[in-house]
């Protein structure tokens, strides 16, 4: 059996991630290794390199390789109203608290191509909160942020989005928010009129803004434990007291060093509330 770490591929991957960090400041060194390895294998194969060392050489000397590699290293899989129960809990349990604020800041961290952001914007419009809300939508993948800011999705995804929206307790019809043309659904730009899109890394950047609600779903599972802790620390420091944090359905704070800074607000939906400091 080859011991982990001695394997040539593992050494090459370690060096490639180090190179990416030193040269471009993208830090994947503490992501969960098995998934990174799988995705780098795809990158090596599909970009046509015979080894990770050859890929490293190309990345170091050609900045144009970076966004291509980034599309493998970051996982752009999302859906509108993914896990409808989560959005139902936001609507029924969190929104009543949010109503008490005259103005709101909501941070969607790791927003990918904007499906989650649009879900929140639609939910907030239905609940009459959109006009008093400023959204921060952040990610490290600039290509994904561009799609998020355009609000354009393939029309064949709309059926699933519509079902999710209904199951989440949607009070309107999703079709009120987009126009269909040439196989694409273009979402109403007024949903995005109070959104700041920003390139921000939960690994290397600092606290972002003061927020009443942070939603960060299916991002922490890609991090190792210490990195998860760093990100949760950012969330803790960004939330107002009694602010809310929503995670993905298989993420939780149980093992986090910051667990004591939060209480479970809706346990089954992984929604937490910041304790009074």
């Amino acid at each position: 059996m080859t011991k982990a770490g001695d394997d040539v591929e593992d050494i090459e991957i370690h060096l490639l991630l180090e190179a990416l960090f030193r040269r471009y400041h993208y830090d994947f060194r503490h992501y969960a290794p098995a998934s990174i390895k799988r995705r780098l294998k795809q990158a090596r194969q599909q970009l046509g390199f015979h080894s990770f060392s050859a890929l490293q050489d190309a990345v170091l000397h050609d900045a144009a390789m970076v966004p291509r590699l980034l599309n493998y290293l970051t996982v752009q899989v999302s859906e509108m109203f993914r896990d409808p129960g989560y959005f139902r809990a936001i609507r029924e349990k969190v929104v009543p608290h949010l109503r008490t604020y005259p103005s709101l800041k909501v941070w969607i961290a790791g927003c990918s191509s904007g499906e989650e952001l649009h879900s929140f914007a639609i939910l907030f419009r239905e609940e009459g909160l959109l006009d008093r809300t400023l959204f921060y939508a952040t990610d490290i993948n600039p290509g994904a942020l561009e799609i998020a800011a355009s609000g354009v999705y393939a029309l064949d995804r709309i059926k699933a989005f519509t079902e999710n929206h209904q199951m989440s307790g949607g009070k309107s019809s999703l079709s009120d928010y987009y126009t269909a043309a040439y196989g694409r659904a273009v979402f109403d730009k007024t949903l995005r009129s109070r959104v700041v899109f920003s390139d921000h890394s939960l690994v290397t950047d600092a606290v972002f803004a003061e927020a009443q609600l942070i939603s960060c779903r299916n991002v922490l599972i890609y991090f190792d434990r210490p990195l998860q802790d760093r990100a949760v620390g950012l969330f803790r420091d960004s939330l107002v007291r009694k602010g809310f944090l929503g995670l993905g359905s298989k993420e939780n704070l149980r093992f986090s060093g910051h667990a004591c800074a939060f209480t479970e607000f809706v346990r089954e939906e992984k929604i937490y509330q910041r304790r009074e400091p």
């Binding site: 059996m1 982990a4 969960a32 098995a34 390895k37 799988r38 996982v75 599972i221 190792d224 093992f255």
Partner: protein
């Protein structure tokens, strides 16, 4: 093989019946952790662990992100996430795109487990109507582990074990009872 450190099992159509012949056969003090991936629709999540807990002497639970892999446990991958094994013998979940239309993917579990456990892994492909798991079983064998597939002739859905046997020359075809007996034997040797 030098002594198994983990067992990975993949199953699809007919999974519950097939697993019911294997998992309840494992004794309470079974020393090898078992990781199972079954294709189930996303909205039926979290049903498998309670179902098998009622029938098994081992502790059966849904795998959690970054959880250590321990003997005495059977772990089921949650629906709608891939389950991966890390070199430090913890589990990770991922929301990556489906592989061969499947999430969780048997290939993803088996390939990552083969990487982590090398020759001390046993991989088992059971009944199923697709080809997921074939590449994974080949990876298990290539790393020196033991590769088993349910005898397609007797399987509820033969496509998956057939594909595995075809792609992985080292794989042995066995009846469900023979697989159960083999796994029980591993725990006493």
């Amino acid at each position: 093989m030098s002594g198994a450190a983990a067992i990975v099992i993949g199953a699809s159509a007919g999974a519950i019946q097939a697993l019911s012949r294997i998992l309840p056969a494992l004794p309470a003090a079974y020393p090898i952790p078992v990781l199972v991936v079954v294709h189930i629709p996303p909205d039926r999540s979290d049903l498998l662990a309670p179902l098998f807990q009622a029938r098994c002497r081992l502790v059966v639970k849904e795998a959690e992100d970054k959880e250590p892999i321990l003997p005495g446990f059977v772990y089921f991958g949650p629906s709608d996430y891939h389950l991966l094994v890390e070199a430090d013998r913890t589990m990770s979940l991922s929301a990556d795109e489906p592989v061969l239309y499947s999430r969780p993917s048997i290939d993803v579990l088996f390939e990552s487990a083969a990487d982590a456990y090398g020759a001390s892994l046993v991989g088992v492909i059971l009944t199923g109507a697709n080809e997921d798991g074939a590449a994974g079983l080949r990876a298990v064998a290539a790393a020196g582990g033991v590769a088993l597939a349910e005898d397609p002739v007797a399987a509820f859905a033969p496509a998956m074990p057939s594909a595995a046997l075809e792609l992985c020359a080292e794989a042995q075809s066995m009846s469900l009872d023979a697989i159960a007996a083999y796994l029980v034997g591993l725990g006493t040797s």
